[in-house]
């Protein structure tokens, strides 16, 4: 269960607190259930019994005890809460910075030092403190990868800070967690956590612009309205209304996680994205002929 399999110290701290709460809650629930069951067996009236039991109105001592004890218990939990907040939200000196920008309905990731921009598939180096700056250009979104342990919102007009350190390599899935419109369900997060040297290779690759080749697919991209929204760095002009496609071929999913990245799926997506992710802000390109479409798909998949 992802919430209890954290891959970060922040997540571990929260998971520990949560386990403690679940155990205490379980005991309290068992107490309530126990009293209910015992009361229903011991004090059940026989059918037709119209007698009255002793009419006790209260017991001051008992009432004080069961008011004070939960208060004491909650005070203890509150101390643990403050400690956990301080662990989770602690400053991580020397952290790498990363901007996470929410769009309806995709994720833009902007790395600093070295600078790189990509979309929808987030790579992070393991064992490295990261500070994410969460921003939005439209409505409120929320970045949640359950195994990271915690989430924060992307609020337009604000930049929320979220500290994370991923200590285990792997692929982790998450999602947008604040209802943001029609395709909130398919604004998924895919995180690839890899050892620092693999990450450095990846990010250098992401920084590489393409070399214009005059391939047919490249021409289709430039001569249609694709360029109005999508950037392929190395090809002028650049736009950032839709996801950056410079290295789209290397991503594992398309459409922010709605389909796997295969040539067939990419073809279906470009032909009519509305059929796959209704409401997405990308028009259909049904007017492209078969040959042009195939060329475009081949070209995009080649951008690894």
């Amino acid at each position: 269960m992802p919430s209890f399999d954290p891959v970060s110290p922040q997540g571990l701290s929260i998971s520990n607190l949560f386990w403690f709460e679940l155990i205490v809650s379980g005991l309290l629930l068992a107490l309530v259930v126990g009293v209910l069951v015992i009361a229903l067996t011991r004090f059940r009236a026989a059918p037709g019994d119209a007698t009255e039991p002793p009419q006790r109105h209260g017991n001051r001592r008992l009432e004080v005890i069961w008011t004070v004890s939960p208060a004491v218990l909650l005070a203890i939990v509150f101390v643990l809460v403050i400690a956990t907040i301080r662990t989770v939200d602690a400053d991580q000196p020397g952290a790498r910075t990363l901007r996470v920008v929410g769009h309806q309905w995709w994720w833009e990731y902007v790395y600093a030092d070295p600078q790189a921009t990509t979309a929808n598939e987030l790579h992070v180096p393991t064992g490295t403190p990261l500070q994410m700056s969460l921003e939005s250009i439209d409505v409120i979104h929320s970045f949640h990868v359950p195994q990271f342990g915690w989430m924060q919102d992307l609020v337009p007009g604000k930049a929320n800070r979220m500290s994370i350190l991923v200590d285990r390599a792997g692929v982790y899935d998450g999602y947008c967690n604040q209802y943001c419109g029609l395709q909130h369900a398919w604004m998924r997060v895919r995180v690839v956590a890899e050892p620092p040297d693999q990450f450095n290779t990846w990010i250098q690759q992401q920084r590489e612009p393409v070399t214009p080749s005059g391939a047919r697919g490249e021409q289709v991209f430039l001569q249609n309205t694709c360029v109005a929204c999508h950037a392929i760095r190395g090809l002028p002009p650049t736009a950032d209304i839709g996801p950056d496609l410079t290295h789209v071929g290397g991503r594992s999913t398309l459409g922010a996680g709605v389909i796997d990245n295969t040539p067939d799926n990419l073809r279906r997506w470009i032909f009519n994205p509305q059929a796959i992710k209704p409401g997405v802000l990308m028009p259909a390109y049904q007017k492209l002929g078969d040959a042009d479409l195939s060329a475009l798909v081949d070209y995009l998949e080649s951008l690894k």
Partner: protein
């Protein structure tokens, strides 16, 4: 030892008139209005339940295509909005309407015509909401309609507007009911019915009434601001011009959290009636239960930002609201222990109402415990807006409030209709509901921890997700069968089921001291009221103990009413004032320095003078000097009108200079705050004029109907008093900062 209850005088059969159809449209009787609320809410429940089934069908399997995302978004928005505003709240207020006057030995509510008006506002507000479907633009931004998603350009169609307008109409009715209930409880208790002899359901309903007045106006203010953004070009929540979407959340949840206690406290009251009667002993710790209800109400306006822990409010705010939210668990837990102690040592009869009450105790405890998990900030950072929270709130609102409503239905149906529901069928329905409810909502906790977010129209085929979601859908259909079976049994009973006696459950509160159903005037005669259980005392031949002297029973109802209404206005203006203070210097362009302070001060003096002349007019009236009264009264109207003219001309001058409501944040909040105040002045002038006209025809001679004059005067003084605050913060503050 029990004694056969002495006969309580009940009306002769011919005094109980059978209903005619037109009666339902013209009635001002609290019992009829209660029935109208219950029947209308039941109809909305079927619609809200259908919406739930549509959601569950869509989510039964991964990547389902039963509902497209637009339809799904409308359905989940309307499911939440319907269940909260058109089902749970009105059902509980419907029961309060019917039962509270009976429980306090009164003839009716304090303001019967206002009561009827409240019902019709509820109905028409609901119809406005549902008209949106017919218009093709149902609300689809969620029941809490966060900005900026609810602003243009993200929501260009009218769904948000129907949502806001429909709820503004129902809220007016709800606030009126809040005033009515509170005044009824304060002023109409029968002799002997001291505060600490009130039945717990009445106590909780009165506390709820106070909460309604404290909280709902915040929603009203927020929705007004949203509509002003959408249609007058203001920028309250418009990020592009510096507006703050988080402000919407603050205003909404300041209402939203007390709202859930508005739905929980009457439920606690119902359970506190049912468990003692069916365990045959008094509620354990009456004083503590009342005190905990008051504590919950006061605390509930101090916890709202626990819905906003992931928004980035900062560690101090998060810690404060985390602490307050955990604190509110203490009075809630105390109630659970009291109910368990009431059962302990009792003689428990498992009639259907008791079954629902017991299920409530179990299910509300589960929901309450997961609620505490959310109060602990870091755990909220993991579980916020996942299915864990959907499970939590359905356990407290479904397993809690809904089950309490079902208990109340079985408990009070005989009193309201004079018929009995079938116990055997009732047990089947109970087990269907119990199994169905837990099957639907327990797995949600697991799915939430597995990573399923709320408000998503579908999900991917991950291991276990499809099976758990499918099980939840089965549970939902089980509940649907249960509810339909209940509707059928109600229908059957109404058409000729077994007749109910006055007191089929052998209860001890005053509603059982009259016929089933009661006559129009409620009681032929009241038994002596010496404790919280008058009928128990009667059965045990106890002497009635005199109640302590209680001045509140002699307060005049309209005065208490206008005071309660002004209390609700404090929240409304408070929201607008807080917004103004936030926004007054935040954006470039026009600022408080552009206001003509001396000019407005001059016009304000006219308004303040009008309070003085109202006071002088009342003094003349006290001496039965009709001419003097009318002279000062007309002077007040003229002075008030001059103020209003001054405000209108001020607006005209600002607009002529190009300073409009849509210029920047200062102007948005300035025009809204002073505009709403001006509206209140205008309404006050109408009220003063009505009093003036009535005065001319001699209505207030010889001390007659003084209360009407006093009530309007108090309102007018409030309108002036609030202007002192607004003038200082809007105009004077600009001079010093």
């Amino acid at each position: 030892m029990t004694v056969a209850a002495p006969a309580i005088p009940t009306p002769a059969a011919e005094q109980l008139r059978p209903p005619g159809a037109l009666r339902w449209f013209t009635t001002v009787d609290h019992k009829d209005i209660g029935v109208l609320y219950l029947a209308t809410s039941a109809a909305f429940m079927l619609i809200g339940g259908l919406e739930a089934l549509l959601i569950r069908i869509q989510l039964a399997v991964p990547r389902n295509t039963f509902l497209d995302p637009a339809a799904y978004d409308a359905v989940f928005t309307m499911h939440g909005t319907t269940m909260i505003f058109l089902v749970v709240m009105p059902i509980l207020l419907g029961f309060a309407n019917y039962i509270v006057p009976l429980q306090i030995g009164a003839r009716d509510m304090a303001f019967p015509r206002l009561n009827a008006f409240s019902y019709w506002l509820f109905l028409f507000g609901g119809l406005i909401l549902y008209f949106a479907f017919l218009n093709g633009t149902p609300p689809d931004t969620g029941w809490f309609s966060y900005a900026p998603l609810s602003e243009k350009p993200f929501s260009l169609e009218g769904g948000v507007d129907y949502w806001a307008l429909g709820l503004l109409v129902t809220s007016a009715g709800t606030i009126a009911t809040g005033v009515n209930l509170l005044v009824t409880g304060v002023t109409l208790r029968a002799p002997g019915m001291g505060w600490f002899r009130l039945p717990i359901f009445t106590w909780m309903s009165l506390i709820t009434a106070w909460l309604i007045l404290a909280a709902i106006p915040s929603l009203t203010a927020a929705q007004a601001m949203l509509l002003i953004d959408r249609y007058l070009g203001a920028h309250f929540f418009d990020v592009s011009r510096g507006g703050d979407p988080v402000l919407w959340q603050h205003l909404f949840w300041y209402f939203g959290h007390p709202e859930v206690y508005i739905m929980a406290l009457p439920a606690f009251g119902i359970i506190s009636e049912v468990i003692p009667v069916f365990a045959r002993k008094p509620i354990f710790g009456y004083g503590v239960i009342v005190a905990s209800g008051l504590a919950i109400a006061f605390l509930s306006v101090a916890v709202w930002a626990h819905h906003m822990f992931t928004v980035g409010l900062g560690d101090v705010a998060n810690a404060f609201f985390g602490l307050s939210s955990m604190t509110i668990a203490v009075p809630t837990g105390v109630k659970v222990f009291s109910w368990l102690a009431t059962l302990w040592g009792g003689r428990i009869h498992l009639s259907v109402p008791m079954l629902y009450a017991l299920a409530f105790v179990l299910q509300f405890t589960i929901g309450g415990l997961t609620g505490i998990h959310f109060a602990t900030v870091p755990v909220d950072w993991q579980t916020h807006d996942t299915y864990y929270v959907v499970g939590h709130f359905h356990y407290v609102l479904g397993g809690g409030s809904l089950f309490a409503i079902l208990a109340a239905t079985y408990y009070w149906f005989p009193k309201i209709t004079g018929r009995l529901l079938d116990e055997h069928v009732g047990r089947w329905i109970f087990w269907l509901m119990m199994v169905g409810f837990n099957l639907t909502f327990f797995p949600m906790h697991i799915l939430g921890l597995m990573g399923q977010p709320r408000r998503t129209y579908t999900y991917d085929n991950q291991p276990g997700w499809g099976a758990l979601n499918f099980a939840e859908t089965i549970g939902a259909f089980m509940m649907a069968v249960g509810i339909l079976a209940l509707v059928w049994d109600v229908w059957r009973a109404l058409r000729g089921g077994t007749r109910a006696s006055d007191n089929p459950w052998n209860g001890w509160t005053l509603e059982w001291a009259t016929s089933s159903p009661p006559p129009a005037y409620n009681f032929v005669a009241l038994p002596p009221i010496g404790s919280a259980r008058p009928l128990w005392d009667l059965q045990h031949n106890l002497e009635a103990v005199e109640a302590r002297p209680d001045p509140t029973r002699n307060w005049r109802a309209p005065i208490v009413g206008i005071a309660a209404f002004i209390f609700s206005e404090a929240t409304f203006f408070g929201a607008l004032i807080v917004t103004f203070l936030e926004y007054r210097t935040r954006s470039p362009g026009p600022s408080p320095h552009d206001l003509d302070v001396p000019r407005t001060l001059l016009f304000s003096l006219f308004l303040f003078a009008s309070s003085g002349t109202v006071y002088l007019g009342e003094k003349r009236l006290a001496r039965d000097d009709q001419r003097g009264f009318l002279t000062w009264w007309v002077a007040s109207i003229v002075l008030g009108a001059v103020f209003l003219i001054g405000q209108v001309t001020e607006y005209a001058r600002l607009y002529a200079d190009g300073i409009t409501i849509s210029t920047n944040l200062f102007t948005s909040s300035f025009f809204t705050l002073t505009g709403f105040h001006g509206l209140h002045v205008f309404i006050g002038l109408i009220a003063l004029s009505v009093i003036g006209l009535l005065g001319r025809t001699g209505d207030f001679r010889a001390g007659l109907r003084r209360t009407a004059v006093d009530t309007v005067s108090i309102y007018w003084h409030f309108v002036d008093g609030i202007w002192v605050i607004i003038f200082s913060l809007v105009y004077l503050l600009g001079l010093v900062s």
